[in-house]
């Protein structure tokens, strides 16, 4: 298992569009990827679950990846969030 903390900086938080970008990017990885925010654990491959969690801009989240390609999945998630998730 690998994990890293990061603060969301894209303008609207994890709404439809940015959540979709993240979920689509995580789908190809074999590893399970989870977003931990405000005590909630959310499946990072599920657009719906991410949106339902309503994670706002400025929130510190922890990305946790577990599985064969966990490091690659984690790196991909972090760099996407750093780049603002397509916004």
């Amino acid at each position: 298992m690998v994990s890293q903390k990061i603060t969301l900086t894209n303008g609207s938080g994890l709404h439809m569009r940015p959540a979709g970008v993240l979920a689509q990017a995580m789908a190809p990885f074999a590893a399970d990827v989870t977003i931990v925010a405000d005590g909630k654990e959310v499946n990072a491959k599920s657009l719906m679950a991410i949106v339902a969690a309503g994670i706002k801009c400025g929130t510190e989240v922890e990305i946790v990846a577990t599985g064969d390609d966990e490091q690659a999945a984690l790196d991909a998630a972090i760099s996407l969030i750093e780049s603002g998730l397509g916004e």
């Binding site: 709404h15 719906m48 309503g54």
Partner: protein, 570 residues
């Protein structure tokens, strides 16, 4: 004949035959699944069919309405493609639940989660999830989804609510009117109706049972009325009104891109009044030449805490960017004891309109005011921003505001932030004191903007909301008109711009007076911009002067009104 009332959401008059669009009947018997794989395949097939249909609809909408509307439907495909969501449905099927129930339970679970969210955007997604559920269920049950594109020409669509998935087939070739039971000016159906120029009346109670298929109706989207079984006379006048409306709209469209000038070529500026950032787009789309009044109260009323400098800066910057260099006159916080904003710590007053409000509040609370001024100064780097002070009574207030502006500009400069320290600072003329002192104010203000609504109320000492005295509240009163004339002349003499941002600026009856007095800038609601351009173009200076001379010689409000009525153009 019967008249139903609702919200006038898209203007125009439509005459046609009612088509009541019922929500599809989606009843089914829950079964226990024996062949799990076949049931999963049935669900997967329905989802695929739904997505395909949805893509077609999105393409149709993109052609007919625009990208933004199409994106709503494409979002539905993204949501239903979520592997986690489908996996949850499959799990239920594995436990023996039928596809219909599995779909309903999982969609409802997400809709409930979305509804519990803190922010509006996420809450709105709940209706999208339910829309998806309806669409996929239609596929599972083999029920045709409502297809509005198939209604015959001359149809008036009567429906509980127009949801995004139904709007793909909507077009003005066969739909002449829309009537719904829910919704308002800013609802999805209203925006769509306006984009397609289909007259619409929304929020008409029980209309899907009040009206039946085949009924003849007039949909008056100007007055917000629906007339059932109109008499010959009513039908005839509706047809006339419809023609007039279409001609007026076509005539006004001709004025897009034209300068705003009198018949003899005297150019003036024509701006829009806005109350939010997105309104700035309406000003541009109606061909406004700038914004003459940006009310900033929305920033304070929409939040639970004082908006930060950054939040305010972003709003001003965004409006400036939308205007692409056109002037943006921003009115500083105009708040008083009649509006309850808990965190501003204002007390209820016996006489809020004569009390602690607007610039008076701002000058006593520099901690609040300077945040706004700093945000405005920072935004000057992105457009032609000008600062306007409300409720000024004399030159002392203007001087104090200027000192604060200079202080903020110096702070920003010291911090290395770019801004225009010479940002124009003007005053709103809306108190009798300011009108009387106009010549003195004109020496120090960079511009005037006459707020006719408050100036009329304060001059006549009458509240237009009070039925006993509202007859006194009239901008046509000689007292108000003399006051306005003085203000315009004082400003012109000093060589500063004089504008007007009250409702009177758009009144075609008063326009000749404003031309004669020499008003330089008219600021009106975005939807009145083109009509005001037309009204100004109806007059030469000489003709306006002649009417003004008569009107200003009149001694009472009814006399003034009668003179202006008889001079009415068009």
């Amino acid at each position: 004949m019967k008249t139903l009332e609702g919200v006038a959401a898209s203007s125009g008059v439509g005459i046609g035959t009612v088509v009541v669009v019922a929500e599809p009947v989606l009843e089914y018997e829950s079964t226990t699944v024996a062949d799990v794989d076949a049931e999963k395949a049935r669900l997967a097939g329905a989802i695929e069919a739904f997505k395909e249909l949805n893509t077609q609809k999105a393409d149709q909408i993109r052609d007919r309405v625009g990208d933004e509307e199409a994106a709503i439907l494409e979002g539905h495909n993204l949501m239903i493609s979520d592997p986690f969501m489908v996996a949850e449905m499959d799990k239920l099927i594995e436990g023996g639940t039928c596809a219909e129930d599995a779909l309903t339970q999982i969609c409802e679970m997400f809709a409930t989660m979305f509804e519990a969210a803190e922010d509006d955007l996420t809450r709105q997604r709940a209706s999208d999830v339910r829309d998806i559920r309806t669409g996929v269920l239609c596929e599972l049950l083999g029920v045709e989804e409502v297809d509005i594109s198939l209604v015959p020409a001359g149809s008036v669509i009567v429906i509980h609510d127009l949801v995004p998935s139904m709007t793909a087939g909507l077009n003005s070739d066969n739909v002449v009117g829309i009537v719904t039971e829910v919704g308002g000016m800013t609802s999805h159906s209203a925006i769509l109706a306006r984009a397609l120029e289909i007259p619409a009346v929304l929020a008409v109670a029980d209309v899907t049972t009040e009206l039946a298929a085949g009924d003849q109706v007039v949909v008056n989207g100007i007055a917000g009325k629906v007339v059932l079984d109109p008499t010959e006379d009513v039908l005839h006048s509706a047809e006339v009104r419809r023609e007039e409306f279409l001609q007026e709209r076509a005539a006004l469209q001709q004025l897009v891109g034209k300068p705003t000038e009198t018949a003899d070529g005297i150019q003036v500026e024509l701006f829009g009044n806005i109350g939010s950032v997105s309104d700035a787009e309406a000003v541009v789309s109606h061909d406004g030449e700038g914004v003459g009044l940006f009310r900033t109260e929305f920033l304070f009323m929409e939040s639970n805490a004082m908006p930060t400098e950054d939040e305010q800066f972003k709003a001003y910057q965004q409006a400036a960017l939308i205007l692409k260099g056109r002037p943006l006159i921003v009115r500083t916080l105009d708040i008083g004891g009649d509006k309850d904003i808990p965190y501003l710590g204002m007390e209820k007053e016996d006489n809020p309109f004569l009390g602690f409000r607007a610039v008076r509040y701002c000058l006593q609370r520099p901690d609040v005011f300077k945040v706004q001024l700093r945000a405005l100064l920072r935004a000057t780097a992105f457009g032609d921003i000008r600062i306007m002070i409300p409720l000024v009574t004399g030159v002392a207030e203007l001087r104090q505001v200027r000192e604060l502006v200079a202080e903020c500009a110096a702070e920003l400069k010291a911090e290395g932030t770019e801004c225009n320290a010479d940002v124009p600072v003007g005053v709103m003329i809306e108190t009798p004191a300011a009108a009387i002192m106009a010549d003195v104010l004109a020496e120090e203000a960079d511009f005037f903007s006459i707020g006719t609504n408050d100036l009329t109320g304060y001059t006549m000492a009458a509240d237009r909301g009070n039925d006993h005295v509202s007859y006194l509240y009239s901008t046509f009163d000689p007292a108000v008109l003399r006051s306005i004339k003085r203000v315009i002349e004082a400003g012109n003499e000093a060589g500063i711009m004089v504008g007007m941002c009250g409702e009177a600026a758009a009144d075609p009856l008063l326009v000749p007076l404003w031309i004669s007095f020499g008003l330089g800038e008219y600021s009106v609601s975005p939807s009145s911009i083109l009509a005001t351009r037309a009204a100004i173009g109806d007059w030469t200076k000489a003709a306006a002067d002649e009417v003004a001379a008569k009107a200003m010689a009149a001694k009472t409000e009814p006399e003034v009104r009668a003179i202006l009525e008889s001079a009415r153009k068009g």
